[in-house]
Symmetry: C2
Subunit: 221 residues, 2 copies
């Protein structure tokens, strides 16, 4: 396969710091676009390199591995999701169900986040250096330190541990329900034969229902 030597930005080799930053950002943007179009699992390093118009070897001067690219995107997703969730929680109504809906929609609104919640422990944290994992975990912890107290303000009947459980299990449910709602072509063909086989076809509705139910359980505990 022939890979073009010029990037979309039109320069051959990034020499100046601002050119390097531009290229770093272009690689992340390309990976994000491909993941939203094809799914994270289907995006290869070669695919990202082709999209951004670089050789794979040049791309690997910016990132250790394919997995680092997606873990850096996951860092950004955690920061952006936390900012959005904080803003939405500050205007949520007083009923637990309203808080549950705000939390569920804040996750469901971010399809890349839902995928990266699944792939982070599965593959991304396995093929990068300790330093890259550390930066990602710090981003997760920063989100947690912001969102858990905001959940506690919105749900005064829950303690910090229960709010952490709500945060963590909503993430796990989002990752699993996303997979169920985005089946393989083979499974989609089976569902077309028998629609009753599709167990969780509507991702957002399933996640809202899960968060409402789990929060009701935490309140009953």
């Amino acid at each position: 396969m022939v890979v073009a030597m010029t990037t979309k930005a039109g320069f051959l080799r990034a020499r100046r710091p601002e050119q390097k930053q531009q290229r770093y950002a272009a690689i992340l943007d390309a990976a994000r676009e491909l993941a939203l179009r094809d799914g994270v699992g289907a995006v290869s390093l070669a695919g990202i390199a082709a999209e951004v118009g670089m050789h794979k070897s040049a791309l690997l001067k910016y990132f250790e591995t394919r997995e680092e690219i997606f873990l850096r995107l996951a860092e950004t997703e955690f920061h952006e999701w936390a900012a959005g969730a904080l803003a939405a929680l500050s205007t949520a109504g007083p009923e637990p169900r309203q808080v549950a809906d705000v939390l569920a929609h804040s996750v469901a609104d971010r399809p890349l986040f839902c995928q990266l919640l699944l792939y982070s422990p599965l593959t991304l944290e396995r093929n990068v250096s300790l330093e890259v994992v550390r930066a990602f975990k710090q981003a997760v912890n920063a989100s947690l330190q912001q969102v858990v107290p905001a959940l506690q303000r919105a749900l005064p009947a829950l303690d910090a541990e229960a709010c952490f459980d709500l945060f963590a299990m909503s993430g796990i449910a989002a990752a699993g329900l996303w997979q169920a709602a985005h089946p393989s072509p083979q499974v989609a063909a089976l569902h077309a034969e028998d629609p009753h086989m599709a167990l969780h076809p509507d991702f957002r509705a399933s996640l809202v229902r899960f968060v409402r139910t789990y929060l009701a359980g935490l309140l009953a505990r």
Copy 2:
């Protein structure tokens, strides 16, 4: 790499039907052992072939792909899990918490099942033929048709839809909590530096707590 031409069973080429069945079972056993030792994600077709003492090309006369091997194991896991869960539910105490504990332990007792719950939608259902996916989905449905009514008998306050949600979300939680409890070496190194970073270190306890809480939420709905 040199791969031995003789199998553990000591025959060079399987000619008779019973030899073929033996070899089919030996391949599944090898894949199961490797997955329990190294994790499903780390087991390659070459690794299975080496373990069973066959060439990869000979192994591919028995299974379409690496993913078929694991999806066949997942079929068996679903059948065996359902049989165990049915037996345990028939002797569970009358309290919802007792039913929750029986369900959670029936899953936590099967480490290969917990892993295959994650990998089935993610990769296994993507690299096999429609017929192999169909057989797997029939096994899932057969489990569901047995376990959901048994849950309803044990939890008369819940309707069939709520019992299905309990079944499905317990599986999604088990898949996610398993990942959280089995981090990459990089993440394990971070946890050793700061044990507070380990969010769900005890898989079984986390799953029991989840199923109890989610069931309480379903009962409150």
